[in-house]
Symmetry: C2
Subunit: 196 residues, 2 copies
DNA sequence: CGTTGACTTGACACGATGTCAAGTGGCAAT
DNA sequence: ATTGCCACTTGACATCGTGTCAAGTCAACG
């Protein structure tokens, strides 16, 4: 039987990484810590992931799968009109950010020194930007895009306002609740990128 | 003559740090690189700064002094009415960010592992927030603050929209020019936090 | 002339990543 | 039952950057 060519060790490592980062979002989280949490030796981690960066990248992908974020975003985008799509996106994405934040933060940190991590992050951000672009297109098509706003500019603006960094500043640094974040970002977007 | 109790070595180190970070905003920039750039031995750097974090902190303070940022912000705030103060702040601060960005980026990076760096950064951000708070107070006093915006919320929002992270996303990541950044942030603030 | 102080040289400890080599133990095919 | 494979373990080691320590150089200044 080759039902599972790889046993659940790989997944155990991913879950251990996730758990540790979630427990202490600021902490260093060494490879040895992760191994201990997964109940295996440090070297065994390297049998599954070539290095720390790839492990973190795999962890984010694992999270994407666990919460079917793609599907959720797709549903939000397809629901009702352009403005509803925008609001839906803010809600879905705004609920997702807090869940991935600890892992995203770690990935952002090694991005500075690791090329692969930088590319992986870039990929994710490009995906978010693509969604923003679709929403702006919807707004434009329905005449709901602010008149004095170039479409490319609107995409950049939307992408920045819903970015993880912005979320971080408003919640972690300013103490906003998840509800406050969503409500005020929604209002901010309404007043700045949609037509009055 | 004790005209200079400390010769210019300290300043040479600060300038070397600045120069290296500016040349290659993404690069690692080791202590040995800085020493070489300053034309001294690696150990000599430690005669002036206890560690990497303190060196980076001192470098940012040095930058603040070189460009008298405090004075510029003060001038902008005192010029004309509340809306003029807001615009002036965006201009002064928006011109300053690109200059300090390379050093700020390095400081942000070690913030994760270094307590002192985290505190130093916190201090700087608190100072920016204080300015945002004053501007919101001015807007409120002159009736220029958007009616459906709590004052605290407005401060957080303003602070986030003019943050270095937001600047980073719009210029470095989205390719905006300095002029585009200033113009669109100004417009964004007008449409979202001031009364129509 | 001698002392002081900034700087140099060279060595070292430490912590974390990543690599290498030699096991160990279970499970499966023949 | 024996053989061989495979995931994993154990332990050692190279590397790299930070920070420390100790001894020495050299010029200025009394």
């Amino acid at each position: 039987m080759m039902s599972s060519s790889e046993p659940d060790t790989r997944v155990r490592i991913l879950k251990a990484t996730w758990a540790l980062l979630e427990q202490a979002p600021g902490a260093p989280t060494r490879m040895s810590d992760i191994a201990k949490e997964a109940g295996i030796s440090r070297q065994a981690v390297y049998l599954h992931f070539p290095n720390r960066a790839e492990l973190l990248i795999a962890t984010t992908k694992h999270l994407d799968e666990v919460y079917g974020i793609d599907k959720q975003i797709e549903e939000a985008r397809a629901s009702g009109g352009a403005r509803a799509a925008l609001d839906g996106f803010v809600e879905v994405w705004g609920s997702y950010i807090p869940r991935i934040y600890p892992v995203a933060k770690a990935l952002l940190a090694i991005r500075a020194t690791d090329e692969a991590a930088a590319l992986a992050w870039q990929d994710r951000m490009d995906a978010v930007r693509a969604i923003c672009s679709e929403i702006v297109a919807l707004l434009h098509a329905s005449g709901d895009l602010s008149a004095d706003l170039d479409r490319d500019i609107a995409v950049d603006l939307l992408w920045t306002l819903v970015s993880i960094r912005t979320w971080e500043q408003l919640t972690v640094e300013s103490g906003w609740s998840e509800e406050q974040y969503q409500a005020h970002i929604r209002r901010l977007l309404h007043s700045s990128i949609t037509a009055s």
